[in-house]
Symmetry: C2
Subunit: 243 residues, 2 copies
DNA sequence: CGAAGACGCTGATCTGTGTCAGTCAATCCT
DNA sequence: AGGATTGACTGACACAGATCAGCGTCTTCG
């Protein structure tokens, strides 16, 4: 992958055809590179220092802790995604962000972002688009947890993740590699780890998907889509107004 | 309530002290008044015409339909809230909006909004703040449905609603009037209507809240807060950056 | 007026998922 | 090398909440 096609550029490029000039501007956002080890929170609830990042490689999750000690993972972020965009708006972050793997990310100052938007307004639209997509995904998770049973929920989740990864060149319709443990899946889907295991086995025995050894393999992609009523267009909208 | 203190102005005023000039600008947004009857969708999934509204009176809900015929209510909107702000960004709306009662709302054109922001940048920050709060609420609902049992979920929901209504002068710590049916509560909380009924009875018998005849009455506000571990600050943040 | 819907409410029964308790293999640490 | 930790996996059992079936009261409307 050349410098001109970071995951971030790939993602935005899916909605706005990017000129060379715009691509260059995007790449200039990537100068403040930082690395984070797995499992140590990058941003935690109540933190005052506000920083946003663009994920270059690795996976992270954002979650909220409950007094009881359990947690709810709100979403996973994959390369190309923004981290902590909202914590820039509020004085303090309202949720935690934890790397699942070792992570490389570019720190982004609000200032730089605004300057970039100034030089290339179409990029502002693209970023806004991406932010709205993330919000739509949270809504879809709400529907997932509220109204689908465990098996459909898992199926829907694996397909959604696939669609997102495909956008940044990390998945195909065959499958993708995935560092999530069954405990992480449980915290994200509102299930117990034990039940996650059972559901994955059932989906495997049904011949739909196999999730083993860090790889998700779609054995019957169309069947899976039908089974959980996945809406194929839900993540590739028509793009922003200013296309 | 004078024209200078619409619910919308009250809400924004809670985060930015508004000058008379800013109040006037806000009120000018309210000229295109429209009325909607209950139960007929104002905005539906896939609709192309993009319009945003500010709710002046009445209640609405935004929801997503599932192929099976069930639905998940994502959130309720009360006076002072924005409707369909996101549907302005996308070519088509990605969810439905249905009035629960008869509703009065002011149609807002993107153009007017931008001009207002131009004259009073602090209002832009306030609106952004409000939008972020709405997003934070969806996240909280996710936590609700994913990790709290039915009773705590209901308790948390009733308290959250109370906090929002208080902000626009429609509730006190004693209670508020509330047009939601048990079916609506069920669709919002991911429960069956039957179970909603049982949970409400239990909360009443515990001496926490009474929800009857269209009124929510907090019999033991502090007890209820403790019971569902409601975070008193979660909705009154520190305000936006540009305070 | 009477009929038809809403809506609140309840008991009986069924079921999806959680909880508990444990095994096994792989990896990391000292 | 031995011990600790982590993650996948399983069976037995318990329970929260769904589903089914039904009653009663209001409101709406032809």
């Amino acid at each position: 992958m050349t410098a001109l096609h970071t995951p971030f550029a790939l993602k935005l490029g899916a909605f706005v055809a990017l000129s060379d000039m715009e691509l260059n501007l995007l790449n200039q956002l990537h100068n403040r590179r930082r690395t984070f080890p797995a499992r140590r929170d990058m941003i935690y609830e109540g933190q005052v220092e506000r920083s946003a990042y663009i994920l270059a490689s690795g996976w992270v999750c954002s979650y909220k802790l409950l007094p009881g000690g359990t947690r709810q993972i709100v979403d996973f972020q994959i390369p190309g995604d923004f981290l902590g965009l909202r914590s820039v708006l509020f004085r303090t972050a309202d949720h935690n962000i934890e790397p699942i793997t070792r992570v490389k990310a570019s720190e982004v100052h609000v200032q730089d972002l605004l300057e970039t938007f100034n030089s290339a307004p179409r990029l502002a639209a693209a970023v806004l688009w991406a932010a709205s997509r993330d919000e739509a995904m949270v809504v879809e998770h709400l529907v997932d947890i509220g109204r689908r049973d465990a098996k459909q929920r898992m199926a829907h989740f694996l397909l959604e993740l696939g669609a997102r990864l495909k956008l940044v060149g990390l998945a195909s319709n065959d499958g993708y590699s995935c560092p999530l443990t069954q405990y992480l899946l449980a915290d994200a889907l509102g299930l117990s780890a034990v039940h996650v295991n059972r559901v994955l086995r059932e989906l495997r025995e049904d011949g739909f998907v196999t999730f083993q050894l860090g790889r998700v393999i779609f054995d019957d992609f169309d069947g899976l889509v039908a089974f959980c009523e996945f809406d194929r267009n839900y993540l590739d909208h028509d793009g922003p107004l200013m296309k």
